[in-house]
């Protein structure tokens, strides 16, 4: 019997190579786990079971498992397009949408013989912090089924061993926040490091794709597979892609770590603060310099972020008009009515809120007052980071101000819920890489440490995260299922 909870990509790979397990057995084991626990977590929107098994058998037959991810099953957030596999963005709008193409990240993984188990739930079009905005259902946090899993259920799927790793997306923090809430590791790469082709846009200037896995090493393996310039993404970068896995063989010698005080305000829970302070102590004990610093404009980041996301999302969601694909209202009187009803019936409240706010903010009349101002704040925040990175190699902060909150806790008060991305969104505004690693527990709920790095220094943050992981046990703690 496979112990899925103790498995990781590199262990599974070794086992496949040594023929201790076949890809089919591995895939079957995960599908069985999904069958056992997904009724509790509700992580998956669509399963790819038969196809996944078929592919695993083919891989076993061909014996083509030399690549790290070959024959190993993963979960994919449902805003990443998968050819011939329904991709809904957890919206009624795309309930029956089957893309005729793979996202570049999916094509890259398929090329390495990876096996897609299914698509995971999310807030509709990635707008929200809890999956409560999903058209289908709310997913649960496996550590406590009364609590939310974050904005994307793929972290819950990995935490509950319903997949060995996942591909996720991060616009204002979804990937890191979900990883933090579910006690797993999530890496948001530098904007441009990983192709966005095939990632349904929420806000193109901030959207990124990255891995969620059980440990730092697994994140490095996945990042190796998905990074690099893509001719289908004009914003992808030609920056040299180092071997992230190999980079873990060395330590970030003499690294200086900055701790921005703006990320430890009143919104941040005391136990979260102390977990991050403890992490800083761990680093100090290992000989790294940790100093308090200031990112003076960080306090405006959340509002600038919300304005930019709303403005961009209102335009991005314009592609869903009921004409070419997606939901179309059954009864309408004329063209205008077709648009109104199709969009009105298919978009959820949060999407509508963003569309209305974003349309207002980017209107010619208010452009200078709000949108342009938000863009200026964005520039100032970027400059804050640049200045900080002249002196420091990394910044550490909490990933989220609190541990996973209760389902329904912010019902009718989404403004308060937005504060959840206060530590992650500034990183998206600046386009920098960041990783969330488990750094403690509060009332048995995981706490995440965010390590922010210089642009394109994923190798650095992986090294520092790996060093932390090697010297702590948080990532080894097993879930004790608590019934809701």
């Amino acid at each position: 019997m496979l112990e899925l909870d103790k498995l990781s990509i590199h262990i599974a790979h070794e086992m496949l190579i040594k023929k201790e397990v076949s890809s089919e057995e591995l895939t079957k084991a995960f599908l069985e786990r999904i069958e056992d626990v997904d009724e509790k977590t509700k992580a998956y929107v669509t399963l790819n079971g038969d196809k996944a098994l078929e592919e695993s058998r083919e891989i076993d037959k061909s014996g083509d498992i030399k690549e790290y991810l070959a024959g190993i099953p993963l979960a994919v957030k449902d805003n990443i397009c998968t050819k011939d596999l329904r991709t809904t963005c957890s919206s009624k709008m795309l309930e029956n949408f089957v893309p005729p193409y793979d996202a570049t990240v999916i094509a890259k993984l398929k090329d390495k013989n990876a096996i897609v188990l299914g698509k995971t739930n999310m807030d509709e079009f990635a707008l929200g912090s809890s999956t409560e905005n999903s058209y289908f259902f709310t997913s649960k946090n496996p550590w406590n089924l009364e609590r939310v899993p974050g904005s994307s259920a793929s972290a819950a799927a990995v935490a509950a061993s319903e997949a060995l790793y996942a591909l996720d997306s991060d616009t204002g923090g979804a990937l890191r926040q979900s990883a933090s809430f579910c006690g797993v590791v999530g890496l948001k790469p530098t904007y441009g490091r990983v192709s966005r082709f095939g990632l349904a846009a929420t806000a193109s200037s901030m959207d990124t794709v990255g891995p969620i896995a059980k440990n730092v090493k697994d994140c490095a393996i996945v990042l190796n597979a998905i990074s690099g310039i893509d001719s289908f993404d004009p914003t992808s970068s030609d920056a040299v892609v180092p071997d992230f896995l190999k980079s873990l063989e060395s330590k970030p010698e003499g690294a200086k770590i900055g701790i921005p005080k703006e990320f430890f305000g009143d919104e941040v829970a005391e136990d979260v603060k102390s977990a991050v302070i403890n992490a800083a102590k761990t680093f100090e004990n290992l000989g790294y310099v940790c100093e308090e610093i200031s990112l003076p404009h960080a306090e405006y980041a959340l509002w600038a972020y919300l304005a930019i996301v709303a403005a961009e999302a209102s335009s991005e969601l314009g592609i869903y008009d009921g004409i070419r694909y997606g939901y179309r209202a059954q009864n309408y009187e004329d063209l205008k009515d077709l648009y109104k009803k199709s969009r009105g019936e298919a978009f959820g409240l949060e999407a509508k809120w963003h569309i209305i706010l974003g349309t207002y903010l980017s209107d010619d009349k208010y452009y200078d007052k709000y949108y342009l101002k938000a863009q200026k704040i964005r520039t100032l925040i970027k400059q804050d980071f640049v200045a900080a990175f002249e002196k420091y190699d990394f910044l550490i902060t909490p990933t989220t101000p609190t541990t996973a909150f209760k389902i329904g806790e912010y019902a009718g008060d989404s403004m308060s819920m937005y504060a959840n991305v206060m530590c992650t969104a500034p990183v998206n505004l600046a386009g920098l890489p960041a990783i969330s690693v488990p750094c403690g527990f509060a009332q048995d709920m995981p706490i995440g440490l965010q390590i922010i790095g210089k642009a394109f220094d994923e190798a650095g943050i992986l090294q520092l995260a790996y060093t932390f992981e090697e010297n702590t046990d948080y990532h080894r703690k097993q879930i004790v299922w608590k019934e809701a």
Partner: protein, 474 residues
């Protein structure tokens, strides 16, 4: 009170690149609807625009040929609106920082030269096409045109009449065709024009309320619509009314404009997926070097080099292919004016008549010149030459072969012509009488009879001389 007409034109021109502006789909038309579409031009989730470098080059070339300043840094924006022919809910265009500004096109009206300013010229993507069922039950969407590259050329409000607009459009079209960035076929939609027109009291510096006019299917329609709007707005103003700011539609059949919609405010936002266009000096110079001699320069040179009248030079240089054809002919023939006559009268006449393009000519400039030489040598008459020319046009055969095949060689045998002339004199005593009474016209009639008798092959010069000799001898 007298009013001044103030017109600005917004011209959209499709660039003739092989592929669309943001994907690899072909820009070709006339295939099955929706046969040149991919997930990118269909606006499917997660797809991103990929900049076609040729579009930047074509557009820069156009900007330079229109005397514009080319921005070293320009950017793309989204114009957000919903319409079924627009696949993404937004059109990718350049609103805040366009590629080119501050250019001009020169026109000449009644011998006076005038510069029509170009405020901006920017790149954008075209929308698709709607096909409405006649019974109104439904409409079909063809997205083959969606994503075809366009440049929008916005003029300054420098145009003062329908005629000036017409001249501006013609010159603009000629320039763009010269630099080979577009075929500029207004009837096929590869060149489109909207009018902004207002009236103001003569001498005023302020602009009146402007009306936009759309749906103009030809340059002539533009001219007529301006003239119609001039009258309509003047009548409103003269009766003390106010012109409404609106968009009107030109109704070609009725020759009037009709209310279409009120003022619309567009919503623009940044296009975050496309990097700014950086046009550095080297690239710009490389593109500049590709610009050929433009119509005005060519016209001046033709007047200078070939001694052509200004009219001839204008007509011939209005089309680059025609001008090239002409210059090729001049290499083989000594008299440029004779060539220009043949090109302007016979060649352009037959092209107009048949609707054929000069690029599809079956005969060569050398062959046309061989024919002119045959006239000079007296091998054929000028009249016969016109028949030979038509045959060359139809078949592409050489003039020598045609003349030989059809036996069109001129009769220059003195005795043969004299005997025919004598016969004609005998048969037309009245004309002979008229001639003797001083009616010079009668000579023409007699010569014509000889030509008729010889099926046009007689050497008219010789026949003329023979008649004068014979009749004066009598």
């Amino acid at each position: 009170m007298s009013y001044e007409t103030v017109v600005g034109l917004e011209v959209h021109v499709e660039l003739s690149t092989k592929t669309k502006i943001f994907c690899g789909c072909s820009t070709e038309f006339g295939k099955e609807p929706n046969s040149h579409c991919c997930p990118i031009c269909l606006g499917m989730p997660g797809t991103l625009p990929l900049m076609n470098k040729s579009v930047v080059e074509y557009a820069t070339k156009a900007g330079l040929a229109l005397n514009c300043e080319i921005a070293e840094f320009s950017r793309f924006d989204r114009k957000n609106y919903f319409y079924p022919d627009l696949p993404k809910g937004y059109q990718i265009s350049q609103y805040y920082i366009p590629l080119a500004r501050n250019g001009y096109v020169e026109i000449e009206s009644n011998g006076e030269k005038k510069k029509i300013g170009i405020r901006i010229m920017h790149m954008e993507e075209d929308a698709g096409k709607l096909i409405h069922e006649e019974d109104g039950s439904h409409s079909l969407v063809d997205l083959d045109r969606a994503g075809v590259p366009l440049i929008e050329i916005v003029s300054e409000p420098d145009i003062r009449s329908g005629e000036e607009a017409w001249l501006y459009l013609n010159n603009l079209k000629t320039i763009l065709q010269y630099i080979e960035v577009s075929d500029c076929k207004i009837e096929e939609g590869s060149m489109r024009c909207d009018i902004n027109i207002s009236l103001r009291p003569e001498g005023s510096d302020e602009f009146g309320t402007k009306v936009e006019v759309k749906n103009l299917g030809s340059f002539r329609a533009v001219r007529r619509a301006i003239e119609y709007e001039e009258r309509r707005q003047r009548e409103i103003l003269e009766s003390g009314g106010k012109v409404l700011q609106e968009t009107r539609r030109w109704d070609e059949a009725r020759g009037i404009t009709i209310h279409m919609r009120g003022k619309v405010e567009n919503r623009y936002s940044l296009e975050p997926n496309l990097a700014p266009v950086i046009m550095n000096k080297e690239w710009k110079e490389e593109i500049f070097r590709q610009i050929p001699e433009l119509p005005d320069a060519k016209k001046a040179r033709f007047i200078e080099e070939y001694g052509l009248p200004e009219y001839d030079a204008s007509v011939i240089t209005a089309s680059k292919i025609l001008a090239n054809f002409y210059e090729e002919c001049v290499k083989y023939y000594h008299d440029p004016k004779t060539v220009s006559n043949w090109v302007m009268v016979e060649l352009m006449g037959i092209l107009n008549e048949t609707g054929q393009g000069i690029e599809d000519l079956k005969f060569t400039p050398k062959q046309l010149c061989d024919m002119l030489a045959m006239i000079d040598k007296g091998t054929i008459s000028g009249k016969i030459a016109k028949d030979v020319f038509r045959e060359m046009f139809d078949t592409g055969k050489s003039p020598e072969a045609i003349v030989k095949e059809k036996g069109l060689i001129q009769i220059s045998d003195e005795s043969q012509l004299e005997s025919i002339a004598k016969q004609v004199i005998e048969n037309n005593p009245k004309s002979v009488e008229d001639f003797k009474n001083g009616k010079k016209k009668a000579l023409g009639f007699l010569v014509g009879q000889v030509m008729k008798e010889t099926k046009g092959k007689a050497n008219p010069q010789m026949v003329n001389e023979i008649f004068i000799r014979l009749l004066n001898d009598e």
